[in-house]
């Protein structure tokens, strides 16, 4: 029963989610439509489960890095920084949520977010520009026909996307737009449709109990 009950729950919930958007009218006896069951019961439950998953992950992270600090494993100082900053921001946000009308609390949270979290995150993202510059210089070599096509497309897109491209050659922006709108859209559609069909097939396998990896074990 340890396997059968989760499989049955998965099947029932999956069927309700599947029929929700494609059926109308009430289910006999229940006097509710699939859509109503989804919006009244399943959606709030899923939201709560997702929130719990974040909480669980946070506790797991704290336990793992807490043990690194306790055992003074190599790099424990980084773990300590993570644990302290995580606890600090968690407490600060909880106070902010509990006292949303207190201007001092709102201003304090705003200050620590704007002056600690925001610049650090922004700096991490900005570093990408430097990696991309270095990686592009090393990777974009016209070593073969395919590499040459990629190189030309990359240069057109880069110059077409920046205002300076139009100053260099009038056609850069229109060529860039054409690359995005025609070959790119065709390729992206193929990927999206392929992934959707693959996802649907996997969902059916899960619904019918053929795919059981999510249950853990075997």
């Amino acid at each position: 029963m340890r396997r059968e009950i989760p499989l049955l729950i998965t099947f029932l919930v999956g069927i309700i989610f599947l029929f929700g958007p494609i059926t109308t009218g009430n289910i006999p006896v229940l006097e509710m439509s699939f859509r109503q069951i989804v919006s009244t019961y399943l959606s709030p439950w899923t939201t709560i489960i997702t929130a719990f998953a974040i909480g669980l992950a946070s506790i797991n992270l704290l336990r793992l890095h807490g043990s690194y600090v306790a055992r003074k494993r190599s790099g424990w100082i980084n773990s300590a920084a993570l644990v302290i900053s995580m606890l600090f921001f968690t407490v600060a946000r909880i106070i902010r949520e509990l006292r949303p009308t207190d201007p001092e609390v709102v201003a304090f949270y705003g200050r620590i977010f704007d002056n600690i979290a925001a610049p650090l995150s922004g700096a991490m993202f900005a570093i990408l520009a430097f990696y991309i510059a270095s990686a592009s210089y090393r990777a974009f070599r016209a070593r073969s026909l395919e590499a040459s096509v990629l190189l030309v497309a990359a240069i057109i897109v880069m110059l077409g996307a920046a205002p300076v491209g139009a100053l260099i050659w009038d056609y850069f922006p229109s060529l860039q737009r054409w690359l995005l709108a025609v070959p790119n859209t065709a390729g992206q559609r193929a990927i999206i449709i392929g992934a959707a069909i693959g996802g649907f097939a996997t969902s059916l396998r899960i619904l019918f109990g053929l795919e059981r990896g999510y249950l853990g074990g075997d």
Binding site: S43, T47, S134, F140, P163, L180, Q188
Partner: protein, 271 residues
């Protein structure tokens, strides 16, 4: 090692330094390179121009974090400036935990200019649950019962006529990843016919193009450039235009290094 080989393996620190200088100078002394406006940006502008300030309320979903803020926050600011200019009221919501802090910055600025929270705009804050939360909010937009300032939505006149996401005159997702514009398309646009546009990070633009072509996205602001284009349409100067010069110089430097690398590669092959 001859000079052709040397040019193929320039030290990354040299590339970083040149790029840093190239990006910094236009930020300090903007050049003002003229900018053409894309159709995707013009479409968003046109929809907002056609809204009725007396009846339409716009939903702005702030789904990004400080990491991606340099690319999308100027778009959020430009859209809010347009809404403010037209006297259109808006409701903010976030499906990313950091979202409310991003909208808070915009609201602080508006309040400093005399606009009133609760009258001209409100923020419902963060709703946990990722894509599922978007689905839930789409079907029942009163599922969030209090705003970020602790006021019950029954006491917020802006929410009086709002039951589902379809009741908003226009929905704009300012998104940097997952959940983002594609979750809105799956949960609100396709099943409910919500009028939706997105302001997205530049790197997401190729993946979003099919949704614009199909009409599921009514318009799209393409990263920082989209913000700069929008600022030029509204005539309200912002950070987008100022930062585009830096982006132009950055792209030029990258293309120049690629050209140098290839030139040296062909030269070394010839020898």
């Amino acid at each position: 090692m001859n000079w052709a080989n040397k040019l193929q393996s320039i030290d990354r620190r040299i590339i970083y330094t040149i790029l840093l200088i190239g990006l910094t100078i236009p930020l300090i002394w903007p050049i003002g390179i003229p900018l053409a406006v894309n159709d995707t940006t013009r479409a968003v502008y046109k929809i907002i121009e056609d809204l009725d300030p007396a009846t339409d309320v716009v939903l702005l979903s702030f789904d990004y974090s400080p990491a991606s803020a340099p690319d999308v926050h100027p778009s959020a600011v430009a859209i809010v400036e347009h809404l403010t200019k037209r006297g259109i009221k808006w409701v903010g919501v976030s499906f990313w935990p950091e979202g409310p802090q991003m909208s808070e910055k915009i609201m602080r600025d508006l309040e400093a200019r005399g606009l009133k929270y609760g009258v001209d705009f409100i923020d419902l804050g963060f709703m946990a649950g990722m894509e599922n939360a978007i689905a839930e909010f789409a079907q029942n937009s009163r599922v969030i019962t209090t705003d970020v300032r602790g006021t019950h939505i029954d006491n917020l006149p802006l929410m009086n006529n709002i039951k589902t996401m379809k009741d908003f005159g226009f929905v704009i997702g300012i998104s940097a990843g997952d959940p983002g514009y594609n979750a809105f398309i799956r949960q609100a646009v396709d099943p409910m016919g919500v009028k939706f546009a997105a302001a997205i990070v530049t790197v997401s633009v190729p993946a979003a193009m099919p949704f614009y072509a199909s009409g599921q996205l009514r318009g799209m602001l393409q990263g920082l450039r989209g913000a700069a284009e929008y600022e030029s349409l509204t005539g309200v100067a912002g950070r987008g235009a100022a930062m585009m010069d830096a982006q132009s110089i950055g792209h030029l430097i990258i293309v120049a290094f690629i050209a140098v690398g290839n030139f040296a590669y062909f030269l070394s092959k010839k020898k």
